[in-house]
Each structure stands twice: as C-alpha cells, then as structure tokens.
Amino acid sequence: SAVISQKPSRDICQRGTSLTIQCQVDSQVTMMFWYRQQPGQSLTLIATANQGSEATYESGFVIDKFPISRPNLTFSTLTVSNMSPEDSSIYLCSVGGGLNTEAFFGQGTRLTVV
C-alpha cells in the first residue's frame, strides 16, 4: 500500500498566476500519475512522471502549461501555469493502478481560479 500526502488541499488563485501542487509518497515508486477531475467529469490523465526523465504528457496537455518535477522516487510537483478560470478543477496525484494493482490517490487539490 501507499500513503500520499498532497498539498495544498484547496486554493483560490488569481488568473494569470501559477500554483504548484506537491505530492509526497511514503514509499519509493517508479511512476507517479497526475489527473484532473473537472466538475461532473471523469479523472483525466494529465501526465506520467518518471523519476530521472521528463514527464510524458497526454494529448491536450503541454509542459509549458503543466510543468512537472520528479526529483526523487517519493516526491513530485505539478504546476498549473498562467491560470485561467477554465483551470478550476480538482487535481489528483496517484501511484500504482496498472498491471493488476490498486491505485492510491492523494486527497486532491481543489483549485478555483478567479
């Protein structure tokens, strides 16, 4: 199992600013995943963060908008840059979940851009 501490849990930000979300895992993991959950929508994968290499982004998400760091096997950050109200969403980090394993999630960051 894994315990993920994610912070902040919520924030209200001005448009045009950036917010960095942090996730700390209590064990070493190879892959970390970042999801976005818009109101009434499913979890959409933003990117996969692998320690020691650049993150792999899904279609529709770019590094300039969502830069990710993965400095070691227990920590990752996601930055939401130059925010607009359309970025208002819940952002979640996760580990595990593929190849017959359960996924573990942070509590999520509820972001409101005004």
């Binding site: 994610q6 929508q41 499913s42 979940g97 593929g98 017959n100 359960e102 996924a103 509820r110």
Partner: protein, 113 residues
C-alpha cells in the same frame, strides 16, 4: 473512438435495497477492471478488482461481474446503507506496467433511510 461509460450519473435507492451500477466500454481490451469509491473532497479509494477471465468477484456486501463479450461490468452493493452514499468510479486497466488507469465519469449513489 475509445469510450468508457457509466450509464447513470445518479442513483437513488432506499436503505436495504441492492444498488446496481453499470460500466460499459468500447474499443478497449482491458486485462482488469477496477472499482473505486470517491467521497466529496477526497481522492478515490480502491474497492475491488476483477480479471478478464473472472466472471464474478465478491467482497463482503460488494459484488462485481465482468463480461468481456458485452464489454460491461456490473457493480452491486447489497443491503445498502446510508454510509454507502458516494460516487463510484470504474476504471480500466490494460495490464501494462507503468500505464495509468482509465476512469469512467462515475455514478453518484444516494441511499436514503
């Protein structure tokens, strides 16, 4: 195109009844299918996993079925309780290492006493 659909956005039932949630997918070949529970303000929490060669899996009051011909999974909660009220997500696992799960939109279950 690839799709995963949970047919009902909301399901309201009375305490003691069985809740049945549906998950359908197209153009995927998942090796496993997983179900999660999400409470407001929290991340999803794993409930059950079923393999493609399993027809049914049970855990306490929970039962999951997986029909790869119909491309459908059913999730049942028997003897439902108000504490079961939450959003339930199905997720496809294509069975490759390092691959993220693919989630449906979820069904919000409300159990009234």
């Amino acid at each position: 195109s690839q799709k995963i659909e949970q047919n009902s956005e909301a399901l309201n039932i009375q305490e003691g009844k069985t809740a049945t949630l549906t998950c359908n997918y197209t153009n995927y070949s998942p090796a496993y299918l997983q179900w999660y529970r999400q409470d407001p303000g929290r991340g999803p929490v794993f409930l059950l996993l079923i393999r493609e060669n399993e027809k049914e899996k049970r855990k306490e009051r929970l039962k999951v079925t997986f029909d790869t011909t119909l491309k459908q999974s059913l999730f049942h909660i028997t003897a439902s309780q108000p504490a079961d009220s939450a959003t339930y997500l199905c997720a496809l696992d294509v069975g490759q290492a390092g691959t993220a799960l693919i989630f449906g939109k979820g069904t919000t279950l409300s159990v009234s006493s």
